[in-house]
């Protein structure tokens, strides 16, 4: 309201201090749910990244396995070897704690990569559709509509199946993870495209875009330099929520046996292995990987919810 310039502050604040003082950081600090959820996510991320350093055993090195250790219940010494395992062992004597750490790695890698890929495809197609309009928009959005009529898991299984058919058998196990990423990404890009298109349609008619056109800027600089930064906040929210969904999708596919191979088990694979022993009393083989998956997906989801509220100016 006043036309005079603000008097410059005594000491210029550093970037970090500025961020810490921002409304965004403030609302984070005052939301216990967000703080706890992000703590859980950070801890799970760290243990996944440093799994080889933390895990007491390398569950995928057959030389370290002792079949005699099979079915050791958590926290009690094995009847034959007297070894104790924190979360018990599975049928082949693998330490469940270690398999969870390694499984978390695969799950997180697949989830994050799939969301990133879906984000890139969706954002670009959404921007192009909104900016150019006409038949380009119709084509892109119809493809998206058609894809939405199939359940995501079905699309992922279809892509997975086709990929399996065309890759040579000797590469199948190595390729499985990447096929999984592509399958999940291709079933997930639609929501990014829709949200970006909706937001970009609003931004496109704002006067700063007209001003850029007036200067003579071309379509792509306007799309990526001007419009994109202004539609990123909803994308960020969706990316977080999709991450939880992607991790669950990966677990579902792996549970169904079309995901991560047993040589590189993800949390889903572990759950599939574990469910075979559920009714014979070895509950821990299923229980702990399932709990980890639950904690991860729930924390990421809660973080996404908080982010949506924090970035929504109407709720502030």
């Amino acid at each position: 309201m006043t036309e005079t310039m603000e008097t410059p502050k005594a000491a210029p604040k550093s970037r970090m201090a500025k961020f810490w003082d921002s409304d965004f950081a403030w609302s984070f600090r005052h939301s216990p749910v967000a703080v706890i959820a992000s703590l859980v996510v950070v801890v799970l991320l760290l243990v996944a990244v440093f799994a080889p350093l933390i895990a007491p055993h390398n569950p995928f090195d057959p030389a370290t396995l002792n079949l005699m250790n099979g079915f050791t219940p958590p926290g009690t010494p094995n009847a034959f070897t007297q070894e104790t395992f924190l979360l018990g062992t599975d049928d082949q004597g693998r330490d469940v704690f270690s398999t969870i750490l390694y499984g978390l790695r695969i799950s997180l890698f697949v989830g994050v990569s799939a969301v990133l890929l879906a984000l890139i495809i969706g954002v670009i197609l959404g921007l192009v559709a909104a900016y150019f309009g006409g038949w380009i928009e119709t084509l892109i959005m119809r493809i998206a509509d058609v894809q939405l009529t199939f359940p995501a898991i079905l699309v992922a299984m279809l892509i997975f199946g086709i990929a399996k058919g065309i890759t040579p058998p000797e590469y199948r196990n190595e390729m499985a993870i990447y096929v999984l990423i592509i399958a999940i990404a291709l079933s997930d890009w639609v929501q990014f495209a829709r949200v970006v298109r909706g937001a970009a349609l609003v931004e496109k008619n704002k006067e700063y875009v007209q001003a850029a056109r007036l200067i003579g800027r071309g379509s792509f600089p306007i799309m990526f330099r001007h419009i994109l930064p202004n539609v990123l906040s909803p994308v960020l929210v969706i990316a977080t929520i999709s991450l939880a969904l992607a991790i669950i999708a990966e677990a579902t596919l792996s549970f169904l046996g079309v995901g991560a191979p047993p040589t590189q088990p993800s949390l889903g694979t572990l759950i599939r292995i574990g469910q075979g022993f559920l009714f014979s009393g070895e509950w821990w083989i299923l229980f702990f990987p399932a709990c980890t998956l639950l904690a991860l997906a729930l924390s990421v989801n809660l973080l996404g919810d908080w982010l949506r509220d924090a970035l929504n100016p109407k709720l502030r």
């Binding site: 310039m5 006067e207 700063y208 007209q210 001003a211 850029a212 007036l214």
Partner: protein, 570 residues
């Protein structure tokens, strides 16, 4: 006894950083049948008073002290249940945007009947009859048919009449009208204000009219309260406050109002609150390339310009219908002049500006700039040269700057795009421009949201001047600004024209502003130009009926004080 009294009202909004006092010990009272104007610039707290009376303060706002009394009963601080009984029954409100204050899913009859029955009871037939009488009273023709229509079937002015009927239907004691005509055209505005005035008299309702428009205040209100930064600075009868303002702020506010009858050389400097920011025009003129404006032939020639918008899509060409927004418009603009285009909303004036700017392709006719055909967007070489020479200043300073770009990047973008300088020179030039428009070069490191509307419009001007253009298109450059800021921006634009020899196309709906700014004016109506004249001739001797009508509806502002304007008059 007064109908509504507000005593020592203080409204606070606690935020996490500080306590923001929106209204600071304000007092005013409204008598039956009186229209009490509440005037001030954005952020002065006038709407907050309205919300406080209605008990509709947005959280975390709260009444910190003071009292609001309605006919002797205190209504501030009563519980939400009791307030709900009063709201709509004893006190009603008319909002700025009639489209959002009516429910689009119900007919006008349903909305009126529901409100009447909720507050007054009675049978549906009685309420229906009452609704019909009201619709008739607010001047909606053919009430029996219109009553069963939906809000979207009404025009803006008619919709506002429905809102007024809705506000009146429970026979309230007080009506709060918050900028009731700001979204409407001048001709409709006059009718709506006349209606409010009439009804207030007839039904002895007290009206608080919140507005930023001095013209509305002068023409409509009986008493007026002037607010600045949450405080009441002056209060009295309208004739007295407008004619002999006592307070410095009121004086400078009135002096900044563009007059339809008095052409000023420059608006007087606003002296209150240290708000004037220097604009270094001499400095800018020194660095500007010297160009002699050749007045022998027009710089911009427009012939038979036409624009059609698709109204109904269709697969086959003959299924499509078009709406002709601009219809065979022709005019010339001489080098160095300010050419005005006026018209009501929907007259096609902005569309003309956008076609000249190359933002819309033309559907017919030609645009020639300095003898070159620029309406053909495919000719890249001519287009590139043209883009360096024209720039535009937009209406809404809140959306014309990219919120995610730093100010120095925004100003540098045109220079970078046209590759006019290398890096070091660009930085120097941007700093220079920001200094010259009065923001100081340190403003370059901030983001647009850190600036006020007037400051943002200065950033827009800096961006527009970055490529040293010859031609400036101003599309309602001040209609989103407060009147004192408007005066500053208009002064800057005048400086640009005089000292730099810029040619301008000035689009506006505001005739007094056009009077101050333009050398020649074209009047547009429904996509066509009805009249082109020298500005002074147009105002003294309008040729067409439409122009005469527009001039007649324009607020005359004869009662406003002319203190401090004598020196500046031409």
């Amino acid at each position: 006894m007064s109908l509504l009294t507000i005593q020592d009202l203080t409204v606070e909004f606690p935020t996490r950083r500080q306590l923001f006092t929106a209204v600071d010990h304000a007092s005013l009272s409204v008598e039956p049948g009186e229209i009490h104007g509440l005037v001030g610039e954005s952020g002065a707290g006038k709407s907050t008073i309205g919300a406080a009376v209605m008990g509709l303060l947005e959280r975390p706002g709260r009444i910190a002290s003071g009292q609001i009394k309605l006919g002797g009963d205190q209504i501030s601080g009563i519980d939400a249940e009791a307030m709900r009984g009063l709201r709509g029954k004893k006190i009603s409100m008319i909002f700025q945007d009639p489209l959002t204050s009516l429910n689009p899913l119900f007919t006008v009859r349903e909305q009126l009947v529901e409100t009447i029955q909720a507050h007054l009871g009675g049978s549906e037939a009685e309420a229906g009859k009452r609704a019909r009488d009201l619709i008739d009273r607010v001047g909606i023709p053919d009430p029996d048919t219109r009553l069963d229509q939906y809000p979207h079937q009404f025009s803006g002015g008619m919709r506002q009449r429905v809102v007024i009927a809705l506000a009146l239907c429970t026979e309230p004691d007080v009506i709060i009208a918050d900028e009731p005509t700001t979204a409407l055209d001048v001709s409709v505005q006059a009718q709506i204000l006349g209606l409010i005035k009439e009804l207030a008299q007839e039904r002895q309702v007290g009206v608080i009219l919140i507005t930023h428009d001095m013209g509305v205040i002068a023409d409509t209100t009986d008493r007026v309260t002037v607010m600045y930064a949450g405080k009441v600075v002056e209060s009295g009868t309208t004739a007295q406050v407008m004619g002999q303002p006592q307070h410095e702020y009121t004086k400078s506010l009135i002096a900044a109002v563009p007059r339809p009858t008095l052409k000023l050389h420059r608006f007087p400097q606003i002296s209150y609150g240290g708000r004037e920011t220097r604009f270094a025009i001499e400095d800018m003129a020194r660095h500007w390339p010297k160009v002699d404006n050749d007045t022998s032939k027009p710089v911009l020639e427009i012939r038979n310009l036409t624009k059609k918008f698709l109204q109904r899509r269709g697969l086959l060409p003959w299924d499509r219908t078009y709406f002709t927004a601009v219809d065979e418009v022709s005019f010339d603009i001489q080098a160095g002049e300010v050419f005005g285009v006026v018209g009501e909303s929907g007259s096609g004036k902005s569309t003309v500006a956008r076609m000249i700017a190359g933002l819309y392709p033309v559907d017919g006719g030609t645009i020639d700039f300095q003898g070159k055909r620029v309406s053909d967007l495919r000719n890249r070489a001519v287009q590139d040269e043209y883009r360096k020479n024209i720039q535009m200043i937009f209406q809404d300073p809140y959306s014309s700057l990219n919120p995610r770009m730093r100010v120095d990047e925004i100003v540098a973008e045109p220079i970078r795009h046209h590759r006019l300088m290398d890096r070091a020179d660009i930085k120097r030039r941007v700093d220079e421009l920001l200094d010259q428009v009065g923001l100081g070069h340190e403003a370059g490191l901030k983001y647009p949201h850190e600036f006020s509307g007037g400051q943002r419009q200065r950033i827009s001007i800096a961006r527009a001047l970055a490529t040293q253009p010859r031609f400036l298109i101003c599309d309602e450059p001040t209609s989103a600004l407060d009147v004192s800021i408007q005066a500053q921006i208009l002064n800057i634009l005048k400086d640009l024209q005089e000292h730099l020899g810029l040619t301008m196309l000035f689009i506006s709906h505001d005739l007094p502003v056009v009077r101050q700014m333009c050398d020649r004016v074209a009047v547009m109506k429904q996509g066509q130009i009805v009249e082109v004249q020298e500005t002074s001739d147009l105002f003294s001797n309008p040729q067409t009926e439409y122009t005469q009508e527009l001039l007649r509806l324009m607020p005359q502002l004869d009662d406003l004080s002319t203190d401090g304007l004598g020196m500046e008059a031409e």
